[in-house]
């Protein structure tokens, strides 16, 4: 009993310093750009950690490190899903997967966009076909839409990041539950021991 009191004292004293260095990572895709963040279980950033990016087939695409805020971003031509590994040394590692692009149309419309300026140069090509007008309008609308909803999606993304971080944090009720499990299991061992006698 006295050991317990003594240990609780030590533990309460150190609890203020937060929780341990299990590392987590979280990333999302924005077109060709991948934006992500790596952080420890207490929510503090993983500074200058090694980041390795693998393609769907397990081929390493690139190597990089996180910045002072634990964030990293890169652009990639890879359309499939991507696996990101964050290595914090001493055997600490975190993995996360970014889904591939679902609509390959996005890249198609990009190509048509490049072609349109060319057609405008020559006057007799000014008559755009119905099809081309449709594409142009679609482009403009989607561009404007992206612009307007950007601040809102940004907020939602930040919120998601916070929620994810909070989920990864060690919780007091988990700790207390764990202690309960330990006592319970040893209690069962005791019962088994007495049964044998």
């Amino acid at each position: 009993m006295r050991i317990l009191i003594l240990l609780t004292f030590f533990l309460v004293f150190f609890t203020k310093m937060g929780f341990t260095h299990k590392i987590n990572t979280f990333a999302y895709r924005e077109g060709d750009q991948i934006i992500g963040e790596a952080y420890f279980a207490d929510g503090s950033p993983c500074i200058k950690c090694k980041v390795e990016v693998y393609s769907d087939k397990g081929v390493k695409i690139l190597d990089m490190t996180t910045d002072e805020k634990g964030k990293f971003s890169f652009t990639t031509k890879e359309k499939g899903s991507i696996k990101i590994k964050v290595i914090a040394g001493e055997g600490h590692l975190a993995e996360c997967k970014v889904e591939g692009l679902k609509n390959p149309q996005a890249s198609k419309s990009l190509e048509s966009k490049i072609e349109t300026p060319k057609t405008e140069e020559t006057p007799h090509h000014l008559k755009l076909t119905n099809e081309e007008i449709k594409i142009a309008i679609k482009e403009a609308v989607s561009e404007a839409l992206k612009e307007t909803i950007k601040p809102e999606t940004e907020g939602i993304k930040n919120l998601l990041m916070e929620v994810k971080k909070d989920m990864d944090r060690a919780k007091l009720h988990d700790i207390i539950g764990g202690i309960g499990y330990i006592f319970g299991i040893w209690g069962m061992v005791t019962i088994l021991k007495f049964r044998k006698k």
Partner: protein, 198 residues
Amino acid sequence: MHISEGVLSPPVLLTGSLLSLSGLILGLKNLKTKKIPEIAVLSSAFFVASLIHIPIGPTSAHLVLNGIIGLLLGWATFPAIFLGLLLQALLFQFGGITTLGVNTFAMAFPPVILGYIFRKFLQKDKISLTFIASFLVGFLSIIFSAILIGLALYFTEKSFIPAIITLLGAHFPIAIIEGFITSFIVVYLLKVKPEVVL
């Protein structure tokens, strides 16, 4: 001092698991019913201690408390630490199920051996000798555990020297703190409840 899932190669994982398994069997075979409450308390202390980290310079380290557990429990350290690590892996994904063997062995084996070496120096009428001996158990347990973790990483990554330097550097201050905590607990126990220690 937890190795995450997917870092080590299968042979290293297998070796660690087998070594831990033999430790577990030894620990459970010599288990005394009277000791079980003590094991449960120390097991949960270990479980909680690893969740709490202390920032040291650029990195941070956490208390392990394996020295005091080894000194008080002997071979029962293996089941105590194994249970703590298992629950950490299940509840918080610290370490991992596959690396459980390696982590258990690295943290439980050094204190068991050190406990056997230093236990005879713990005497009720020689407080300073007891203090030094238990400090050494707490201190060396962390150092040897860090070396074992470094070895496990070495057999996978083949970069022993840098890994061991960062590991020892990060754990040196913790080792000193652990040494003092072990000493204070042992000296205190010796005064109020000597049958637990001796």
